[in-house]
């Protein structure tokens, strides 16, 4: 069975990019009831536009309503779910029993259970199935072997995380942020206290060295495990990161799209082909998390920092005139006349271009594109399309 590749989207542009670059479905947050507050900026009209775009491609949109609900949060949920159902949202992602029970009243809205419930057994998957949930997002702490065992004991759809940030704690059970910063981790306010540096003492004796005790984990990266996950029969493979950039989404989604398709067509390339593709976007250090083998210190993130992307994302194609062959480009990072850039497209053309004859929106020559988000024009012989991306080759 071909699993669904499920991608995050923090806004409508990223939703479109995720779907164009290979996601079968996206998950998004509305302005209410959703974790990841910085990313939860889809108004109802934007959700409707996203659904229309996705459905036109034969793809799906899921909306998160996965905060742990307090009494203050209960108002307005029914109306919200009605709106989501009417606009054709395919599923709501819930963690609170209240959301599950209210969503059941909306039969065209499937219910997916959020990883916030930390489900790690088939018994619990089936429990939620009886409660009306059609899909369970498993805890990030389950291993590949456990996934296989769970799958063999349930008909409920299973979704597993394959890439991105990992909570160090079991999801939904952490209140470090609540205690240390008054920000509610389970209602979208997580301050990521688990990513801070700490000193470790034992009976008053300092054991750490310059506050180098950390509890954060490396990000998840599962390229080499995808074939096993496909065999396991899981329904959906999920990428984390509703706050990630357009370029990150395009790059990571496209890499996993390729490895899934290549696995199923028995044309897998060497692993480093896919891993190098992912490395073109910004990433923290990665590991395979709990999926394979015993955890050790190697899965932990003791030295913070981003691994620099191997290629800088410099621009996005906004328009192309096929007659004049002039492309309109949205600047995202500095590039200049004479630079070699890679044209990164949903169909993986990956052609090289030389930047030349760059102009601003008024037709003035531009030698260095160093104004953030500047609109530029440039002749490009190859046909390009909206949301093709330009990455500077080092």
């Amino acid at each position: 069975m071909k699993p669904e590749l499920l991608a995050p989207a923090g806004d409508l542009e990223r939703l479109k990019v995720a779907l164009l670059y290979g996601a079968d479905a996206v998950y998004i947050g509305g302005t209410q009831f959703s974790l990841r507050f910085r990313a939860s900026n889809f108004t109802l009209s934007e959700i409707a536009a996203g659904v229309k775009f996705a459905h036109a491609l034969g793809k799906k949109v899921y909306v998160t309503a996965n905060i742990v609900m307090h009494n203050d949060d209960l108002d307005g949920l029914d109306a919200y779910l009605s709106d989501l159902e009417k606009m054709g949202v395919d599923a709501v992602i819930a963690s609170s029993p209240y959301v599950v029970d209210r969503a059941i009243q909306h039969p065209r809205l499937a219910i997916h259970l959020s990883t916030q419930q930390s489900v790690a057994s088939s018994v619990l998957v089936n429990f939620w199935g009886k409660m009306g949930v059609s899909r369970v997002v498993l805890a990030r702490e389950v291993s590949l072997e456990e996934i296989k065992m769970i799958k063999s004991a349930t008909n409920v759809e299973l979704e597993v995380f394959i890439h991105g940030g990992m909570c160090s704690s079991y999801s939904g059970r952490c209140t470090l942020s609540n205690d240390m910063t008054d920000r509610d981790a389970n209602r979208g306010g997580c301050a990521h206290s688990c990513r801070w540096n700490y000193d470790l003492y034992r009976y008053g004796e300092l054991l750490s060295n310059g506050a180098d005790f950390q509890m954060a984990s490396k990000d998840l990266q599962t390229i080499r495990i995808i074939p096993d996950l496909i065999v396991s029969g899981v329904t959906a493979l999920k990428i984390e990161g509703r706050m990630k950039s357009l370029h990150y989404i395009a790059t990571v989604v496209n890499a996993y799209r390729r490895v899934i398709d290549d696995t199923l067509s028995h044309h897998l390339l060497p692993w480093n082909e896919y891993e190098n593709a992912i490395a073109k976007a910004e990433n923290r250090k990665t590991s395979s998390g709990f999926l394979v083998g015993e955890l050790s210190y190697e899965q932990q993130l003791y030295q913070q920092g981003i691994i620099e992307p191997s290629q800088d994302f410099v621009g996005v194609i906004l328009d192309y005139d096929a007659i004049t062959k002039i492309a309109t480009i949205g600047q995202r990072n500095v590039f200049k006349d004479g630079d070699t850039v890679e044209l990164f497209t949903p169909d993986n053309r990956n052609e090289l271009l030389i930047i030349q004859n760059l102009q601003d929106a008024d037709g003035n020559p531009v030698k260095i594109a160093n104004h953030a988000m500047q609109i530029l024009r440039m002749p490009i012989c190859q046909t390009v399309k909206l949301y093709d991306l330009l990455r500077k080759v080092p």
């Binding site: 507050f37 029993p97 619990l124 429990f127 509610d184 932990q300």
Partner: protein, 291 residues
């Protein structure tokens, strides 16, 4: 309202009972974590028998996340419990709820996830499952607790209202990993209650950190006490849990008596009060809209 205390030894039962304990909470040697003392099935059977002889109740604490390989262990344990007169099964994972009915134990289950039980609807949801009760979330305010209590009085509601509240439960072995990362020998972590974390912006706060085979736990830097709050919440609470982790025996015994008698409460606060605070009762966390 019953006072639930953690039992470390059969020998404590009479003393704790005299202090005002109504229920003894015991940790199992198979599916209990963040505990300094566990009991075998045989021990638990004995404890139940002896507690009932002095008209006290016994709850068993199954406070791990249940993974698929744990299911046979859980089934065997529930089978054992079904043959006893256990009075309550405190569980952290709904897998226990899901399995308990098969063993005729669903009416013994108290669902105590630490977080999650945060609104007035949750008791209604769990009443449908015909379980004994739920423990309200540790991170909600007193006003929220009262609102939940006032709104629903049809199933048992409980509170963990005393001791070091846990903030974090990871499957990762964070202490062991850290020592390995540093290339240092891993010390004996078993039952070690002496590890603390300090974050440099909060130098006065020492967060206890504890590791066992199920993972790593981090706790609030200050102990929670609820003497005033429990007077308000008493009409709504069936069980009030007095947590024991990291607390010396003498202080722990004193805390039990303090919830039964106002004179004892005053003595307790005079002696130990500086290391306690009111937790989240008056600390309304900011959700996303207010950040």
């Amino acid at each position: 309202m019953r006072i639930v205390v953690t039992l470390h030894s059969l020998l404590e039962m009479k003393q704790m009972s005299a202090l005002g304990a109504d229920v003894f909470l015991v940790n199992s040697d198979c599916l209990s974590t963040k505990t300094m003392k566990c009991f075998s099935k045989m021990d638990i059977a004995t404890i139940i028998e002896e507690a009932h002889q002095i008209n006290k109740l016994v709850y068993v604490n199954l406070n791990t996340i249940i993974h698929e390989p744990d299911i046979p262990i859980l089934e065997a344990f529930l089978l054992f419990l079904a043959a006893t007169n256990i009075d309550g099964i405190v569980c952290f994972d709904l897998s226990v709820v899901a399995l308990a009915e098969q063993y005729g134990l669903n009416d013994k289950i108290i669902y105590q996830p630490g977080t999650m039980n945060t609104n007035s609807y949750d008791p209604w949801f769990f009443r449908k499952l015909k379980i004994k009760g739920i423990t309200l979330s540790k991170d909600i305010t007193l006003a929220e607790l009262i609102a939940i209590g006032e709104n629903y009085q049809g199933m048992e509601i409980s509170l963990v209202g005393h001791g070091y509240s846990f903030l974090f439960y990871s499957k990762r072995l964070l202490l062991k990993s850290y020592f390995e990362y540093r290339g240092k020998p891993v010390p004996n972590l078993s039952n070690c209650d002496g590890f603390r974390l300090i974050e440099n912006q909060r130098p006065e706060e020492m967060y206890p950190i504890y590791e066992d085979g199920f993972g790593t736990h981090i706790f609030r830097s200050r102990k929670l006490q609820s003497f005033n709050e429990v007077k308000v919440m008493r009409p709504y609470l069936s069980d009030f849990f007095v947590d024991r982790m990291f607390i010396e025996d003498e202080e722990y015994y004193a805390s039990i008596g303090a919830y039964k008698d106002e004179t004892n409460e005053l003595l307790f606060l005079n002696r130990y009060g500086n290391s306690y605070d009111s937790g989240f009762y008056y600390q309304k966390n900011k959700e996303r809209d207010h950040i």
